[in-house]
């Protein structure tokens, strides 16, 4: 009686240590007796090593980098799904009994990734923080001093309950002078916007 070969996806999961106990036992038993699958498993192991050694990109510092990365992630997910469909349509002799749970798991993964993508998009620099821009507006009011850019605004100094004298100089600095009532210490704090 001829034994069916496991799918490449199962072998990839085995190479990454991502199988359940029973599946791993069955796969290992098959691989021990099948030279072709042993070679496939070895190639997946080499591929994992190469990926692990690749340099990771720097943490994105601005919105355009994040958008690019998010776009690449979405593209990779689509590519992955398309590749999965190709595998499914091919002549691989695979068992069909696990299709429904795998589809559910795959969809759950897609939903999770989409959710994470949306959450990460919410972390992008938005209208609460100034970006790195060439021009900025200083705005002083009774509640504090703000730096305002075309990306948004942010309070740099907040008077709170301290009596302070605020000055915006035409050289592009906010200057906040206050006296500490307990120590009598005069402190002048300046933040430069340009």
């Amino acid at each position: 009686m001829s034994e069916r070969h496991p799918s490449e996806a199962d072998l990839a999961l085995l190479a990454g240590g991502d199988c359940g106990l029973l599946t791993r036992f069955n796969l290992n038993r098959h691989v021990a007796r099948c030279g072709d699958c042993r070679d496939t498993l070895a190639s997946f192991g080499e591929l994992r090593s190469e990926v692990r050694d690749m340099a990771m990109p720097d943490f994105a510092a601005n919105e355009s980098d994040w958008s690019r990365m998010a776009g690449e992630m979405r593209a990779n997910i689509r590519l992955g799904l398309a590749a999965g469909e190709c595998i499914g349509e091919g002549p691989v002799e695979a068992t069909h009994r696990n299709r429904a749970p795998r589809f559910a798991i795959g969809m759950a993964g897609v939903v999770l990734l989409a959710g994470v993508g949306m959450f990460l998009h919410g972390l992008l620099p938005h209208d609460t923080l100034p970006g790195v821009v060439s021009s900025a507006v200083l705005e002083s009011s009774g509640t504090g001093v703000e730096v305002r850019t075309d990306k948004g605004s942010m309070t740099l100094m907040n008077q709170g309950d301290v009596t302070a004298d605020q000055t915006i100089t035409s050289q592009g600095a906010i200057r906040d002078s206050y006296v500490d009532g307990n120590t009598g210490t005069v402190t002048i704090t300046s933040v430069y916007v340009e």
């Binding site: 992008l124 705005e139 916007v193």
Partner: protein, 406 residues
Amino acid sequence: MWNNSSRAIALLAMALPAVYGQQTKLSAGSDASSSVKIDLPADSPVTLISASTDQSRVTPQGGMLVLDLHMSLKLRNSGTRSVRGVTVLITAQEFTPGGKGAVTRPCIDVPPGQNFTLPIDIRLVKPVQQTSGPLVHVQLDGVLFDDLSFYGPNQLKSSQRDLTLLEVEAQRDRAYYKQVLQAKGEDGLKKEVLSSMAKAGDRPQLDVALSHSGRTVGSMAASGAASDAGSMAEKAHFAFLELPDAPVLAVQGQADIAGNEVRSPWIEVQNLDKKKAVRYVEIGWIVKDKDGNEYLVGSVPGSGVSALNTSGASPGSVIQAGQRGRLEPGATLKFSHAGRPVGIDSMTGFVSQVEFADGKVWVPSRRDLDSSRLLRTMSPSAEEQRLLDIYAKQGLAALVADLGKY
């Protein structure tokens, strides 16, 4: 498989707070491994005794790190002269709005060998990057001594001038209150202090937005004013208050006014001194609105023109003795009060600070400040604020004792 998914979700749940919203404490030191690196030159006349960063936090927000610095540096005067003021430069990120700051402690008298503290409370931002080294760099930028000599790299370009101006104002105001005490006794001093406190409390406040390039993009109130005024700008001339002792005369000036917005102001000044060149002039502004209310801009945010360009020359050059120069900051200012735009009817200027090329400075005398009703509402100097605060918090005896110290 489900076990692995659960593990991945749990790891994700733990990792995300590290990226978003989690605060991290900062440590300070003179070594590169500290998150706040404190750097004093080897020949510095002040030495670092200790640094406390207990309340300092860094919070990632989007692509930025928000650094809330609440530090206290304990320094020692290891020089031979009394220290009257110190400025430190604090850099999180050059060329980023809000990435650089400075903290000055003026109005002190620290004899050689004594310790003093420098409180640092400042918020800075920097982009998130995978870079090694400290998050914040604290450097000594200047120290002023009792003989008005200066030590420091003066990277900010203005530390020496600012510390000297603060000290000269402090000497002026201490001398004034000492004179009142001597001439009129403690009751006279009390009356004078109460009068100064009343004037400080009566100062009208303006909210100011300042932009260096083109029109400001400011607040809703300001936007409303802009729409009221449309884009029709009228050229308006400055009027000037002449101070009898000023070494510089404001000759003429002009700005484009549209609603509550002042664009492209310029002021021509003349150096009246017959020997010394002038390196820096600052003009205070008094703004009058359409209802006749007057706001002394020099005592509220937006102290007016402070950049110096001599005619046809590059910034930073000097006005030679007897010559004329032109102040042209290239800024746009926008005024509002209590959330409403203040339509500008007229502007008055006066010379508020002068620095000569030899480093000496001039500030208006108390007699100058009393010469006009408008100038009486000027913001008190840092030293006068301190003296008034001593009276308010500790009483007349403490004020008299402080005036007797130096």
